[in-house]
């Protein structure tokens, strides 16, 4: 699609700047127990995978959604590409309410404009299909263009994804390609639809360092050339630091902190972000001082079927006090576009410097709510 086409669709004002807006998104999965519970449709529990988040993707930005497994980051991405239905919440894409948009035909245009890239290129590609067939498939399924136009678009997409000359690659099979080339094919498969928004779920986690950099650069080049917007889902804060304009940190279905990458990494205002930054691995061997400041949280993220009361991070938080146990903090404004959900930063206060509380790790039951603390 040409730029004029895209501009024509875009409305003026806030809708023009905000490509995708999520308000009050909740995704709850019900757990049914045994066979009887299933037959009687008896609900035995609820997993609150995403538990009330607001998120706005601005046109042309890379927003990194960072979190550990079970944080709800992937579920959020799946809601955006309409692979998972939300329990509650409003979705606005390019100024249009798309919350209730469902069904193959209704979603045809939507799916063309929003594409998904998965983590594992080995599983995404069908080993029996050529590269050409893989990239062509979405065009055929969506009935886009005549045969000759399709061919043209496939070759263009392959070239754009850095597989040059495209004609050389088109009729190869996945096993004939390296890991990096395979992920480029997956990117070409997304590009062929000329999307505006790409949801990339851990797109480079499986790849070696040297290949990873090339793909990150490709993704950023494509943004510059085509004005793409990315939601970059990753567990790796260092990667988010390198690629993202803004970073949102999720924990147990909530956004704990969001803001420009520099602000979130250099001046975290939520204790969870602070801990994540402190343990984020770096190839600079740590000094004794850095080692001492490290906050290694005890235990693991509680499961989303048993979300703690109050601030959901309080059982593992080194600063938790009474209010945190009963009342959930909203996202407070820190300034410069940064927001953090923590009672300690209410009213513009700074987060205290890490105070170390040593716990005997041997006696801690990981995953349990108590005892909480930080060890160094």
């Amino acid at each position: 699609m040409s730029d004029t086409d895209r501009a024509g669709r875009t409305e003026s004002g806030a809708a023009g700047r905000d490509l995708y807006r999520i308000e009050g998104l909740e995704v709850h999965f019900t757990i049914r127990g045994g066979l009887f519970d299933t037959i009687l449709r008896r609900q035995t529990g609820v997993v609150r995978a995403v538990d009330g988040i607001d998120l706005t993707l601005r046109r042309g930005e890379v927003l990194a959604l960072v979190g550990e497994s079970g944080s709800g980051k992937t579920t959020t991405g799946r809601v955006i590409v309409k692979l998972t239905q939300q329990t509650a919440g409003r979705l606005t894409f390019d100024g249009h309410d798309v919350s209730t948009l469902w069904g193959t035909s209704a979603l045809r245009d939507y799916r063309r404009r929003i594409q998904l890239i998965f983590q594992d290129p080995y599983e995404t590609l069908n080993p029996k299909h050529t590269i050409h067939d893989f990239v062509m498939e979405p065009l055929v399924v969506n009935g886009i263009g005549a045969a000759s136009e399709r061919e043209q678009r496939v070759l263009e997409a392959l070239e754009a994804a850095g597989l040059r000359p495209a004609a050389d690659f088109a009729f190869r099979y996945p096993h004939e390609l390296s890991g990096g080339q395979r992920q480029r094919v997956v990117i070409a498969g997304a590009l062929v639809m000329n999307p505006e928004l790409i949801v990339a779920d851990e797109p480079v986690s499986m790849l070696d360092v040297s290949i990873r950099t090339e793909l990150l650069r490709l993704m950023l080049d494509l943004r510059a050339e085509r004005g793409l917007t990315y939601l970059f889902i990753t567990h790796d804060l260092s990667l988010a630091w390198v690629i993202a304009d803004r970073i949102a940190v999720m924990y147990l279905g909530k956004i704990m902190e969001i803001g420009p990458a520099e602000r979130v990494i250099r001046s975290p205002h939520n204790p969870y972000t602070q801990a994540l930054v402190s343990v984020a691995p770096s190839p600079d061997p740590p000094t004794a001082g850095e080692r001492a400041r490290r906050t290694i949280l005890v235990g693991e993220t509680p499961d989303a079927a048993h979300v703690p009361t109050g601030c959901r991070f309080h059982p593992r938080c080194p600063y938790a006090f009474d209010r945190c146990r009963v009342e959930e903090p909203p996202l407070f404004d820190i300034g410069d576009g940064q927001q953090a959900a923590c009672w300690l930063v209410e009213g513009g206060r700074e987060l205290p410097v890490v105070q170390v509380r040593t716990t005997d790790q041997g006696t801690v039951v990981p995953g349990s709510a108590t005892p909480a603390g930080a060890t160094t």
Binding site: S238, P283, D284, D336, Q361, V365
Partner: protein, 425 residues
Amino acid sequence: MSIDPRDLAASRDASIADAARADDLAAAAGEPGDSGENGASADTARRTAAVAAAMAIRGRRKWAPPKQAKPGAPLLEVRDLKTWFSLESGTVHAVDGVSFRLDYGEALGIVGESGCGKTTTALSIVRILPRNGRIAGGEVNLMGIDLVKKSENQLRRYRWREVSIVFQGAMNALNPVRRVVDQIAEPIEQRLGESKATSRARARELLELVGIPRQRGAAYPHELSGGMRQRAMIAMALACDPAIVIGDEPTTALDVMVQAQILELLEDLRHKLGLSLILITHDLSVVAETCDRVLIMYAGRVAEEGPVGEVFRRPRHPYTQKLLAAFPNIRADRRTLDVIPGSPPDLRTPPPGCRFAPRCPFAMAVCHDVVPPEVTFGSVRVACHLYPPGSDGHQVTTAPPNAIGPSVPLVEAPPDLPPIEVPPA
């Protein structure tokens, strides 16, 4: 051979004192990170002290080396190791002349990209290779005993008891239909010939040691979280109180916070038990956090080896420089990732000279024809024609070290991003 947690409490304090002494010794001998003679002697002093500390800890637990061990021999010395795989399409020279040493109490990181031979090197130590793999040459001297010369049967004496391995995918390595405690007890029963009851009791002690409550030992692997399973794997590796634990990507599949927990546990165990660690990983940061020395491998050969601080702060080999510049670093400036063009060579037909030459920004004519010799500068060993024998170890090119190739920012400011607007909280 038993590990009593009560002894450990005592030995931990002692080991901290020992470690402090090691630091003093090293400090007296010169600043670590210095190159040249000074760096080498500091490194030697540090290693000597670390060996003494580790031996002291092991001595307190009445650990004894195997009977054939040569007194005074280093714990592990691999010399010119060659491991080849036969394929229909040719012979893959996966490991082609690798040498390194591991001392008591030391942690060595082996780093490289997929296919560089790092895992094969480690598996060759106790010779657990796929069927088409064989050791084609070299020595693996464990306490002076050459394991390459041992028969398969003789080698069983050394697996688990002297060298054990923690694999990456704990879910695949654990038996899904057996309780965790029984799986840990098995090697104790079989290798050390202990009774069932004793083995189980020790297995429970080991679980406690790695931070799993005793009663959780009755769980099946699927009932444990990823971090807990990896802890169970570590407990199993410790079952026969080995001198060396090899971790093959032990934290790769784990969340950042759990990874930090596991790395802390390994560090803790090393000091408590006087263990030596070999950590195989593609993740430079894991090595920076946990290891004393690092061995950078490229296409089956050693590119560079030395103390972590020295190698990472002042990488000499162009591959090491590139690798470090390509690694996302949260403590560095944003978006200055470097790209390494090209891909590693096919190890069925490796290039005749330096294997990195086709991708190297500094490659000279000689690099394409002649294999660079390994040259030692102070405590660092490098295989690169830029540092010929007799040179001072400073790069002889005009390019400033550490800035090979333009380190292009991935992207400048995002295109026309509107001013940041903050929705009401």
